[in-house]
């Protein structure tokens, strides 16, 4: 019976709390302490890696090889040294081209497909959707051999970013799926109203759906941007022979190779690859979290 009173009862008249209430309040307080201590412990687990990486990026060469956790002298010049490393600026440029151009192409090509899958009724719609989902689940390694031979041997485009960018002009399975999930939540009445007003399909898409789909489009744009930013396999297959076409994620690993023992410089470079992602996240938190939730919820 005492369990019923677990929540503090709100009373209008000032009555001194009964013993049962007092134990309930004490229990609630202890629970608050327990939950928040666990929260702090978890927060340390999630943040300390970032902190250690950042601190090491500011250490001197010799100190980076010691077991110290805090820098004796704060070597901000490490970041300068990273930028002075040959190739580093090129990797930035390439990453921005790959991520920027790729994002535009994915949005332009995926929106109409997602719209058709969400709002048109046609034979084979479920089959199409299943194929989209299957492609989304497919490891890129499954088709990489013929794709590589196609780009490298037939089109002679290896050593460039194009084999990674061009396919994005033909829709991306994950973006189509996520956007379709989003468009499903837009009531059909809007479409019917547009039809009554005499809008064609394209006009409806551009004038009615697009403005309402902004959050969904923001989510796929962000995910695509990060996919390009994070991609390691694509550049490894298509660009490894030409350092002039490397991206940040791919170059970062070779950076460690070239600066074999310099953990401080390597960690400074790591921070420089991490920082833009975190920065973008702080400006676009909502789109991100919505996107993650959408992919995990039934459509």
């Amino acid at each position: 019976m005492a369990q019923v009173l677990e929540r503090p009862v709100e009373l209008k008249t000032p009555v001194s709390p009964s013993p049962a209430e007092r134990t309930a309040r004490r229990k609630a307080f202890l629970e608050w302490i327990a939950v928040h201590s666990l929260g702090v412990a978890a927060a340390l687990f999630f943040t300390l890696p970032f902190v250690f990486v950042f601190l090491t990026s500011l250490m001197s060469d010799s100190q980076a090889l010691s077991r110290d956790l805090i820098p004796h002298t704060w070597e901000w010049s490490n970041y300068r040294k990273v930028f002075d490393t040959p190739g580093f600026l090129t990797w930035w440029k390439n990453t921005l081209i790959y991520a920027g151009l790729g994002t535009v192409l994915v949005v332009v090509s995926s929106v109409p497909v997602a719209y058709a899958l969400a709002k048109f009724r046609f034979r084979g719609r479920n089959l199409t959707l299943m194929l989209v989902i299957s492609m989304m689940m497919l490891p890129p390694q499954v088709v990489v051999i013929p794709m590589y031979l196609f780009w490298a041997k037939q089109l002679d485009l290896s050593g460039t970013l194009w084999p990674m960018i061009i396919p994005l002009a033909f829709g991306d399975a994950f973006s189509i799926f996520l956007l379709r999930q989003f468009l499903m939540t837009i009531p059909n009445e809007y479409l019917d109203a547009a039809k009554v007003d005499g809008c064609g399909d394209l006009r409806t898409l551009l004038k009615v759906i697009l403005p309402m789909a902004k959050p969904g489009i923001a989510a796929i744009a962000l995910f695509q941007f990060f996919n390009a930013w994070n991609d390691y396999f694509g550049p490894q297959i298509y660009a490894s022979e030409n350092p002039g076409a490397w991206t940040l994620s791919y170059g970062l690993e070779s950076f460690k190779g070239a600066h074999h023992t310099d953990w401080n410089l390597t960690m400074a470079a790591t921070v420089l690859v991490l920082a833009p992602v975190l920065l973008v996240f702080f400006f676009a938190q909502k789109a991100f979290v919505e996107g993650v939730t959408l992919t995990g919820v039934k459509g």
């Binding site: 608050w32 939950v35 928040h36 929260g39 978890a42 943040t47 970032f50 250690f52 990486v53 090889l65 090509s109 995926s110 109409p112 497909v113 058709a116 048109f120 046609f122 719609r125 959707l129 299943m130 989209v132 989902i133 299957s134 689940m137 497919l138 490891p139 890129p140 390694q141 499954v142 088709v143 990489v144 051999i145 013929p146 794709m147 396919p167 033909f170 829709g171 399909d201 390691y232 490894q236 490894s240 994620s249 791919y250 170059g251 970062l252 690993e253 460690k256 190779g257 070239a258 953990w263 390597t266 960690m267 790591t270 992602v277 975190l278 979290v289 993650v292 995990g296 919820v297 459509g299």
Partner: protein
């Protein structure tokens, strides 16, 4: 007559409209999936080194991969290890963190952001960071462990610790699961908890008989997508192996993946090893097809018609 004619014309127009809207994907599907998929099957029966024209060798590549290529079975075992142990731990941890965040009442936004951030870390950057944090000699983790008297493991340099080290890194990036579990937990009807409480259910009983049944579809979703992700695990083990082994040639080297002792070798790495390091495209295609079969099996589980986790809907 006229009515049927217009109806038919209307149908044709709507079919054309659908085709037009789907066309980017239809082209993409054909050129970047159907055609290479058929080629992969074709090449799996050919000997092809990228220079001399391909020659038909029947099932020789298949026999080679399954019987004499020394890395196939270790890679399959490692992949299964990740599928079973890493995915289980990740789902349990994600659920735990998701429950914790719904209980936190003060500073929820801050906690949620801190828990979510690691998920965003680019895989190469995260792996470089963990290779540094967990490096046995000077890494901060081992420094701390030793300072409180716990014997420090060799992490990415010890074959029996390299997979747990990878797992630890993936637990760190559990933010995506936290978000979907949090959404699911907040969706559980409050009345059910209140009813259970009236019946005198203990905290464990409330979790077991109210929370679990309500979120079980999301748990299944997390398991299946986790399994698919574990089978695709490529960048992290490869980079961790490279950094830990201290290869200094940098990217695009002859580095034999799997350091130490094949313990971080996964199936996707074999495609790269066979195709792009040994120039045995035929055998690489065999491994690619094994990977394809496994992925499709798990995807089918995700989309089973009845009770499937992703539904076509209307």
């Amino acid at each position: 007559m006229a009515a049927t004619y217009t109806l038919r014309a209307k149908h044709r127009r709507s079919r054309l409209r659908t085709l037009a809207f789907l066309s980017p994907w239809l082209i993409g599907f054909t050129v970047f999936f159907a055609y290479p998929m058929i080629s992969t099957v074709y090449f799996s029966f050919m000997h092809y080194d990228g220079f001399k024209p391909p020659t038909w060798v029947g099932t020789k590549n298949w026999k080679y991969v399954f019987e004499s290529y020394p890395f196939f079975w270790p890679a399959l075992r490692n992949t299964l290890w990740l599928v079973v142990i890493m995915v289980t731990l990740r789902v349990l941890f994600g659920l735990g963190i998701g429950m914790l965040i719904t209980k936190i009442k003060t500073g929820t936004g801050v906690f949620r952001t801190l828990f979510y951030l690691p998920y965003l870390a680019p895989p190469v950057a995260a792996t470089m960071a963990f290779a540094f944090l967990l490096n046995p000699g000077t890494g901060p983790v081992n420094s701390m462990l030793e300072s409180i008297g716990i014997p420090a493991p060799g992490w990415f340099n010890d074959p029996s610790w390299s997979k747990p080290a990878l797992t630890l890194m993936f637990l760190w990036g559990v933010g995506d699961l936290m978000v979907i579990f949090m959404a699911a937990l907040l969706d559980v009807p409050k009345e059910q908890y209140e009813a259970a409480q009236l019946d005198g259910a203990s905290a464990w009983q409330r979790f077991r008989f109210v929370t679990l049944p309500n979120i079980s579809p999301i748990i299944m979703f997390a398991v299946v997508t986790g399994v698919i992700a574990a089978m695709q695990c490529y960048t992290q083990p490869l980079v961790a192996g490279k950094v830990a082994s201290g290869v200094i040639q940098g990217a695009g080297t002859s580095f034999q993946p799997g350091y130490p002792e094949y313990s971080t070798l996964t199936l996707p790495q074999l495609v790269y090893n066979l195709g792009f390091q040994r120039f045995d495209y035929g055998s690489a295609c065999v491994v690619a097809l094994v990977l394809f079969a496994l992925s499709m099996a798990f995807t089918a589980l995700l989309m089973r018609r009845r009770g499937g986790l992703i539904q076509a809907g209307d």
